[in-house]
Symmetry: C2
């Protein structure tokens, strides 16, 4: 596959900096992919996402297949033309989305039978339809259909899911027709080390263009998440891109870059932004709090984002209080720029061989969002099951 | 008042083109003022409002006095600095807003006692507080407190309101302290020609810097609205700016420019935009309709707005269907550019002495929004009485 290459530029411990070349451009890694679930990074234009420092966006094949429909996107010449983004794109197969549907889906060996969250209509998502949809959408990086289980699933269920994910990956490889898309298989295995190893080894043997790690950040405690992420990274080939799905908070991102992951995606910068959560080097702050009411300075001193260059924190506070639409954009712009600057700084530190010191300095200053608040947020998300919300990767 | 001037450049019939100079810049008129009720043109940045061709924005002193509070805006150095707009601003005194409060307000000779729509707290809005608030906010053009009655109010009530509006205007003039703001008095008189004349003559005798016409576009039929607007325009001095409040739909705007009005404001381009109403030279269309699903062309052929330059109508349709925040911005950008281009074309036609032909050509092609739909929309707006919505002028 000549249209793709993954060239390692430097390693620093297990962390690595690389260049991932796709038909729509080269992505310097580690890279953070903003989430454009429905072919739009919420509240932002593609040009704004790029101005924040984004090199690749992630879209959800599940959502887009239901609305507007793959055939509509094809009529526009594919997802890039449809959404006005000429850089690299990744699509998620939809496995995680249908897992979130709960009672609305049934998993069999053939695939997943589910009811649309939009109109209740019944659809099959199989390895073959997942590939067909993603080939129609035309992203540069596509993903296998996998079976994702909730945190706490029993071992035999996890074991079956690993085996099924393996068989589905084989069917995905068999089903693909396009040569200009890189296919990523998704390692499962829940929180069982032996199953993680089995899943990784089985999928690596298939020689996919890249590997994603799924089934993490699904409600487990942070320490457990980190140790599993670390363990799984070491099972993946060094010469292929590694994508840690749905991660994460800034401190998690920095730690997982250190483990050797290359690609990340998360709704946090935009979703937190829409509820007034503003990322700074000291942690996330709540801009809706009264203490910002007459703050004439920017959201964060020294920030080079559009929002901090043009507006005071007090004005952004007012926009949130007044529920003005501009609030969501300004907060998302700041947060996304914070993420992209963070990842760019990590990359630079790797290239210059000083990643451990950089990481330590960042983690020393950054105060993570309270663990309890984090798990409560996750539970709320699962319970709401509102598929209109941007609640998955 | 040296900081202001209103220089007529050309007239064409009763239509006129002029330059209105303020401390924050010169406004070529006729001019359309986008509504920034709460110090934000909904979904747009100030730079975007300017890029659409806007020279002046309108804010609501009523809203801003309640939230964030005049003293907060003053702490930021005034409204221009607070919202990041360095061009001219106009503030509305709040008379129309408290009129919309219905049972939540009581009008006496002293002023208007009302309950905040935000927290139910009680406030006095008097001519003196209206001026004090607007001086604190610091707009270039400010307005007198007036008494606005609903359509169909009895003649004696209208007569009393005209007399009170006159006395309140005198108190406003007496209360002002700043010399760098132009004060506009507001002509009332409902739909009674004699009262309109009495109101205009009384206020003109006060020698204000400009005159606004209020109490129109409050639910009356279109023909009645137009004849009253025409009648009232002729009562106002030719050498001062005339501001027709809350107007309006594109065809009304074009007709009222022909009558000799200079300034207009209306929520239509942004409010219609947020519900999928897209203005074109053939009339308003509904972008959420299925017929746009695979439309690869722009919202309107030949449009030079940001949205039409970057995105297909089909993509905007998708964003509305998916309830993506970007939808509201893209539609608002298109509509506001449509309005500003229309007003700029009208101005050019006046300068070149061909306004009647231009007007006729526009009105020949433009299909106005159905009268019934218009009145229904107005009733809905009054009934909702939701002051969180941008429902006035």
């Amino acid at each position: 596959m000549d249209t793709f290459s993954f060239r390692l530029e430097a390693t620093c411990g297990t962390a690595r900096a690389a260049l991932l070349t796709t038909p729509h451009g080269t992505i310097p890694t580690p890279a953070f992919m903003p989430v454009a679930t429905q072919a739009s990074v919420k509240a932002l234009t593609p040009a704004e996402a790029r101005a924040c420092g984004s090199h690749i966006l992630l879209c959800n094949a599940y959502h887009l297949a239901l609305r507007p429909g793959v055939e509509v996107v094809e009529a526009f010449g594919g997802l890039h033309a449809f959404m006005g983004w000429d850089g690299p794109l990744l699509t998620d197969s939809g496995g995680f989305q249908v897992y979130s549907l709960g009672d609305l889906r049934k998993v069999t060996e053939e695939g997943i039978l589910f009811q649309s969250h939009l109109d209740g209509s019944t659809h099959w998502l199989t390895p073959e339809t997942a590939i067909r949809n993603q080939e129609g959408l035309g992203a540069d990086l596509i993903t296998c259909l996998d079976e994702c289980l909730p945190y706490g699933a029993p071992r035999d269920a996890l074991e079956q899911a690993v085996a099924r994910t393996q068989r589905w990956a084989e069917r995905c490889l068999h089903a693909r027709r396009r040569a200009d898309q890189a296919l990523f298989a998704i390692v499962q295995g829940g929180h069982d080390l032996a199953l993680r190893r089995a899943s990784a080894e089985g999928l690596v043997a298939l020689n996919c263009e890249g590997y994603a790690v799924g089934g993490l950040s699904v409600g487990e405690a942070k320490d457990l998440f980190l140790s599993l992420a670390q363990f799984t990274a070491l099972l993946l080939p060094t010469h292929k891109p590694r994508y840690l799905m749905g991660v994460g908070a800034p401190d998690d991102l920095v730690r997982c870059i250190g483990m050797g992951y290359d690609l990340f995606d998360c709704v946090l910068p935009t979703r937190a932004g829409r509820t007034g959560g503003i990322y700074t080097h000291r942690g996330r702050v709540d801009i809706t709090s009264a203490r910002w009411r007459v703050e004439r300075g920017p959201l964060e001193e020294g920030c080079d984002c559009f929002t901090c260059a043009h507006f005071s924190a007090g004005y952004v506070h007012h926009l949130f209080r007044a529920q003005e639409l501009l609030a969501y954009r300004l907060a998302s712009l700041h947060n996304l720029r914070f993420y992209q600057r963070l990842v760019a700084q990590a990359r630079q530190a790797i290239l210059e061989g000083r990643f451990p010191a950089w990481q330590e300095a960042f983690l020393h200053t950054y105060r993570p969002t309270n663990e309890e608040a984090r798990l409560a947020q996750h539970q709320k998300r699962l319970q709401s099951r509102s598929l209109r919300e941007e609640t998955w990767h």
